[in-house]
Symmetry: D2
Subunit: 350 residues, 4 copies
């Protein structure tokens, strides 16, 4: 019998519609290196979904790769990226940003979120320091939406961060590895066009949202009164290749994003997984478990250690971090592949 897995949103295959599109298009021949016809179709659909008719879009294969490649393109060699302590680039990317030469400056994390006031205070203090030219100079800001801890930003919070960035003339880059789950979270008042118009670059995560692989890096290139406000870094195509991130058979990403942005599949996947996550949350809460706040498909539960071990016999999940000698914070993740049956097994095992 199959043990239900809540380990991650990257331990299942592709969403059936994505897979079907891979199968349907397999026998066609097309150009490569991003010039295939599905990548072009996917770009058109993403531009529409973002309401950014001039957006430049590049398909890469993974989140760490997308982050390192974009950050290295947006910064000058002596510049650093600002992110919260718990940010993926600061913790779980094996130093990939530093490997391309840039310091990650860590700001306080508020349940995974950056606060505009922290950012503003840091930048003000930094440039007021008479020795600032001897330090790695903040050259951009990185946030994740939703955050690594399952929390989300609202419009006001993200706009405030963007305003600070614009005041200091540094770009804001948003890591959307799980963007579908962020935008579809209950209470999220941000949609894709709003997001695209409040940053200088972001990526739409595929791997964790229904694809086998693939992340769509978007330079929104939005305009105000016909004048261009954001730009794609010069030579980005070659830069992507120099980072080892250019797909020869780019169709593998193009076909999948073409499917994900057809009939709102990307958002439906987000909504479905959120629905399952809320049911899962309800199961735990109704039985009196302590949970961390999270509106997205990652749910964090405090389990007593003995019970945690017992539960592992019935369902799969990840330990996140020790709380104290007796308790551990555990992560349960839903995806398009999570079933009511899975939730029943979980409920029956508690």
């Amino acid at each position: 019998m199959k043990i239900p897995s809540f380990e991650s949103d990257y331990n299942n295959g592709a969403h059936p519609d994505v897979l079907r599109h891979l199968v349907e298009t397999n026998s066609e021949q097309s150009a490569s290196y991003g010039y295939d016809l599905w990548s072009e179709r996917a770009r058109t659909k993403i531009r529409e979904a973002c309401d950014c008719p001039h957006a430049d879009i590049f398909f890469l294969t993974g989140g760490t790769q997308a982050n390192a490649t974009v950050i290295d393109a947006l910064l000058r060699p002596y510049q650093a990226v600002l992110a919260v302590e718990t940010a993926h680039i600061n913790v779980h990317e094996s130093g990939a940003v530093e490997a391309s030469g840039h310091k990650v400056i860590a700001l306080p994390s508020h349940e995974g979120r950056m606060k505009a006031s922290d950012l503003q205070a840091y930048l003000q203090r930094f440039f007021a320091d008479p020795t600032w030219e001897h330090m790695a100079v903040p050259g951009m800001v990185y946030v994740t939406m939703p955050t690594e801890l399952g929390t989300i930003y609202n419009k006001k919070e993200l706009e405030a961060i963007h305003d600070v960035c614009q005041h200091h003339q540094i770009p804001l880059y948003i890591d959307g590895a799980r963007l579908a789950y962020g935008l579809m979270a209950e209470g999220c008042n941000i949609d894709l066009p709003w997001l695209a118009h409040h940053c200088e670059a972001f990526y739409i995560g595929g791997t964790k949202c229904g694809a086998l692989c693939g992340e769509a890096v978007v330079f929104p290139q939005w305009t105000i009164d016909n004048s261009q406000c954001t730009m794609t870094p010069r030579g980005f195509f070659t830069h992507v290749k120099a980072h080892g991130a250019l797909l020869a058979k780019s169709r593998v990403a193009g076909v999948q994003f073409d499917a994900l942005f057809t009939d709102g599949l990307y958002f439906r996947i987000g909504r479905y997984a959120i629905g399952m996550a809320m049911k899962l949350r309800e199961i735990f809460l109704s039985k009196g478990y302590e949970m961390r706040p999270s509106l997205t498909n990652q749910q964090f539960v405090v389990l007593e250690n003995a019970q945690m071990k017992a539960l592992m016999q019935h369902v799969l999940f990840e330990t996140w971090e020790p709380i104290d000698e007796q308790h551990t914070l555990c992560r349960f993740v839903t995806s398009w592949a999570t079933t009511d049956e899975d939730l029943n097994v979980l409920e029956g095992s508690l």
Copy 2:
């Protein structure tokens, strides 16, 4: 009507058997980051195919990525990699090797091949130079099999190169982006186990040999008389992630390589494409065209420019380089997807 394409071996989809395996396994859940069960199965099969029971195998997504990642792992920061002038890393990788800090030292190319005697002469001259410590120090050798020009090495040639490497105690790394076509070429006396035992690292190309994406980096770790002769670089897993090259849903590569190394599919794909390439070659030769020597799936033909343009209306192919004012060297590539019908259209169009 579909225009036959001989542009490349990466402008078609996956081989049907590979695609089928992706479909069959899609609904199963498994671990990620290389620990999925298909990656493990693929590793077992590749170890057997290489006759290297202790080989360490990592699945990456592209050739440039594999090269930059492996080379950066095998070298110390001040060391350089030796390759021929026409080598992929020296020409068509956007400076990815240099981007991770290492010089590519170019040796003469003999129809794409390195000569052991050139290598030996270079190393001897280098270390005899009293200023050698002021120069980037050669720390490894890179060759491609087959080469970028479609030629192959025979045992004697490759063994001679490996002997020079061993004499200077530097590793030999083989780029096998099109390895299937090299090993299956008529007259090739090298097989996979022999190759694996005559280098310190190599990769088995998937993207250009029937997969949608994926390259299998192999550290063969062969032994002689029970003592270990080659080693996997320390911390290579983390190093791969730091290069942005670690797949979250590693199954996408694992499943494909599991299929490619089941019932010899990888070699059958090579053999089939070679067969079609030889037919294609025969078509050109029988009509009196001048061709470059090539035993593999890339065939290079000299076309008169007006005729080249006319032919482009009927079949797709790539221009390689100008020969003179009137002639251009053109590249025709076959793959698992090339059909007799394609060849007939080509023949009828000449």
Copy 3:
């Protein structure tokens, strides 16, 4: 009239004995790139002073350069260096360590010092984390002696740090930009031989301790029972040049270190500046000023802002950081060039 300067220990010229040696040797010709005869003499004297007869010694020109070069040589590309939050490499080196590809992991600072217990706790937690292979792996430890805040380590503290390093088989590297002032501090129970035998690499700062420029990087290569315990990184000479840190006219550093290690000049410079610093400290304390603990040539005083501005008319010093709206922490630094006259002016101006 000259305004006394307590701004730094790098705003005066060379110690007269150092300058004299530069003048005396100027007309001699000698080899370059570290092979000049004064560099060789300086090496012999430093080896004796360290009681490390096999030490490898390289002369570089600056502290940031020495740190970036040594750290990059000791780490593999995916590895990080551990240092305290206030460490020079984490704050005031413009991201030079990251520029060569390595993350700086910040541990808590205890008045500038690292605690062995913090280090041990970090490493234990790190390797206990099931996701550690996805993070930049700690590959060495960096401490400063004395620290950026003027404090020093004692034997017990430094030995405890070294023990943790040895337990985890990672090297300990000591930044001795102001080493003379640390070793000569009252109450310091560490001498140069002890230091050299409790780390795998360190540098003896010249620029801030009497030279015009120059830092002596030492790989002590100490042995126990005739077996080698520490090693110089392979190819370090070439590595230094690849970091742009190799002096052509190496005599400029060699001559200065030859002078600094003749008749204990280096230590006398340290002792003299410490003496002046203690007098300066006494002046402030006797007048009731609040001071940070510091046994070395950097003294930190809390000044009321209006008084600070007034004092700036009479003596030069640096503001360090704001304490509150009304007060600022200020830094006063002594050197070989500080005179009793300077102190008198200071005292008269308070």
Copy 4:
């Protein structure tokens, strides 16, 4: 008895006037990190000597360091620098340019010089290649004046190179490690203002032209009709520090350049050494030796091997490269320290 040395122009001390200025200024205190008063004076004098009133000038310590730092500042990460095969950055800098991430593309060397026609042909072919975006993109041009082989450019040649650069909108950077000897060579029709107005960056070498250490990097920022034509890279001060190239006691370089640009000392040093080099050349030529063309302070002579060994007993010089089994090309270098007595010993030993 002292053996005369023609080994290099960096195996003697500082020119007496430079040394005197170091001594005279030693007891003064001044700011650091480039803000000392001598650096400021030297800048003023260099701006005048270049006829570039807005030039930005930075003092670094060595040539390899200056090259790697400037090149990394002028290029984007995916860009390469064009230089001739024999260029210092391509041969004798231990891969320092590649270590900061950039490929060196080698063009043919014409006795050390680049030809504008080669450059133009390369760039035209490069951008005509349909795969150019897959290659490291040429982003700047590097030439040395005088070249590593002792030859020089004339106005017409350098202007032609600069025109090609401007046509392709890429900067020209001139390595002037031995600039004094180039500008003062007989027949050189280029002076410092002309040079400064025909490139976007260059450095004035101190180490090999009379200083103990120090190179002055100049961004000339020249204007035409009041509009700015060249620019200093943004954040260059911090960039210099991130390359480990910022001097704390910047006075060491500032004082020396202040001396070098007082009363034309820099040019007098060049002229004197050239005079001695021409006498040395005459000695060899009059005795029938074969010499390479060189107008500067480096002279290359073909010596029969047995005689070469005999001569080494009487004067010091460097072997450059083997010519054939019996002959070696040898290098003899003059400097401010070369005396008529040295030449007499040489003449007497032939």
